[in-house]
């Protein structure tokens, strides 16, 4: 059970993938009107790519944030050597 917080971080990684998949298919894929010119098509494609990378970055930021929170909690609750 000592590893429980780390298992929870792994669970969050897994659940975030599922959640971001839902966001991806529900909001990113159908985004924008049907493009009629090459410029519109390129702009829409770039916007979608940007949003996909933002979802990927969010995954990393959340995991990194949880890791830092875990470390800070552990370090601050550790017994201090008496001087």
């Amino acid at each position: 059970m000592k590893l429980f917080p780390l298992y929870m971080i792994e669970l969050v990684a897994f659940l975030l993938i599922i959640l971001e998949t839902y966001v991806f298919f529900t909001f990113v894929v159908p985004l924008g009107p049907i493009p009629h010119s090459l410029t519109d098509y390129t702009a829409l494609a770039l916007l979608k790519m940007l949003l996909i990378f933002a979802l990927g970055a969010l995954w990393f930021i959340v995991l990194d944030g949880l890791t830092r929170l875990y470390v800070r909690t552990r370090v601050r609750s550790a017994p201090r050597p008496s001087s």
Partner: protein
Amino acid sequence: MVEGGLLILAFAAPFFLLVGLFPSYLRALTRMGHLAEDAHKNPPTKVPMPAGPLLFAGLVVGEVAVAVGFRTLVPVAVAAGAGVAFAIGLFDDLYVLGGKTKPLLLFFAGLAFVSLAVLQPTLYRADIYFPILGDTAPHFIIYTILAVVAFPVVANAFNMMDAFNGEISWFALLTSLALLVGVMLRTLFQSGFSVSRMASVLPLVGVAGAFLFYNRYPSKAFDGDSGSLMFGAAFAGLAVTGGVEIAAIIAIVPAILNSFYTLSSVRGFVERRKIARPTYVGDDGLLHASMEEDAPNTLVRLVLLTSSMTEVELVTSIVALTAVACVFSVATSVLTWVF
């Protein structure tokens, strides 16, 4: 019936070849003086290294059997990517490459892999399947770029999981088993998906399984960078050819957590002398986590923050974390291919 035999051969040939050849190979390494210090023993011991060449030979034997049996280039592409990573790792084992040179050179592993798509356009599909909701539209250029980038990223992630006795062999075995389940489910539930892609995963399982006998605590062999980079590149190639990218990412979450250390290093690059050591061996012989708040958050430090441990306890904890990640990976595969 023939396919069943080929599947058994794809696993058994590399597995038994390595189990049989390892003792004489390790004796040869010892005779030639290729020994590395096992720094976590007190007093430090010498262990034969690198086992990478034998591991790669085993992988090639298995992949060639699949290529000939199923008449496909999929295992050839996997072996090509793994081969380039192995060669870079072997050079690093013998002569030592710079910290930035190695990741940059590993792009060639990805290029070797995708270049075979010229000969076999069906080498990989340019769409990504997500759990429950299905697949994206195919984008060949974007997917190919991502596939090339995956090789240095994943190979380095595996390389960074190679610090303690048995860590890399357990990690490679468990993650390749999760990958195998994912590709097997896709083979079962998606019509027209070739069994050869599942067969291509089996040599990696066989090699990792055989290596575990010699790499577990107390290690009789170290794989060196040639082995760990080869494991990572093979894993990346198999995730791409098997089309189980998302499940593969979930399986290696412990390595991703470990790689946040790299981000810490990059951020601290300007003031790298100020970065504290993440762990240390105490006077009690146990491994301890550094209590400095700015020490890099390696996976080992995250585990040791729960309590100080022996090397065996530490590796057992990392194996447990990897096993849980692989269970989530299998759940991802079930949600992707069964529902």
